[in-house]
Symmetry: C2
């Protein structure tokens, strides 16, 4: 069954959802963010069926989030590099990481791995703020409004 | 075909992905964040098949992100209220909103709706920062490390 598509929706969340609905995709991106570039590398790291991985990488290229870059001519071989659009998705993954860490482990337990600052080694806690004010994005303090007029 | 499950994965992103893979779920949550509570309201707003909506709401209750609250005894009727775990997912949606807004519209076009501050009416631009330092979460400045020791 083909799932419902949201990629022409009027809502930015819906368009992002369309991509996330390909349920391996955030994990492919996670590995790409931390240096993975080759088909065999993704496959080994994720233990993902080849056909599924090929479909996910093709979709990410179609979306302009990754691009195929040749690294060998004989035989022809390609790496998958993140584009600016792909790298920008990191914020979504960071927010998912935080939420998963806070809410998806039993009380008193923690994920084995944490995000850490390369400079200080301190654990990093992603939060979402308003770029203008630097304040937490309180759900009760925002509303939807027309982009043009308000 | 049952899709691959990630809900027991060691990675917080994977656990969050498991939920997002139910591809209507972020949109159900989006509507809940902006006040929707009733089955009929979600259904009308999302134009979603009843069986799919029922499955998504049941999953969100199972996950502890929503709870069923009776609002009528005769006949028995329920509303779906967000829990703290559900409300915390707002950060993920806000990051998705930002990414979708920035990257999923043609150059020079914008989504019809924006997130705005209730207080000032200004458009709000969600970004992800480190809670400790308030600095942008630069992908090149973080790494994975063991939670316990470093």
């Amino acid at each position: 069954m083909r799932r419902t598509r949201f990629d022409d929706a009027r809502c930015p969340v819906a368009r992002a959802t369309d991509l996330m609905g390909d349920w391996w995709t955030p994990l492919v991106l996670r590995d790409a963010f931390f240096g993975q570039r080759r088909f065999s590398g993704f496959q080994e790291s994720l233990d993902i069926p080849k056909a599924v991985l090929a479909a996910r990488l093709a979709r990410l290229c179609d979306e302009g989030m990754m691009e195929k870059v040749p690294y060998s001519e004989h035989p022809p071989r390609y790496e998958y590099h993140l584009t600016d659009k792909g790298r920008a998705f990191w914020d979504v993954l960071a927010a998912m990481w935080r939420w998963g860490t806070d809410w998806c482990w039993p009380e008193g337990e923690h994920p084995y791995l944490s995000l850490k600052s390369r400079a200080t080694g301190q654990i990093v806690h992603p939060i979402v703020v308003d770029e203008l004010t630097g304040e937490r994005l309180d759900l009760d303090a925002v509303r939807f409004g027309r982009t043009s007029t308000g």
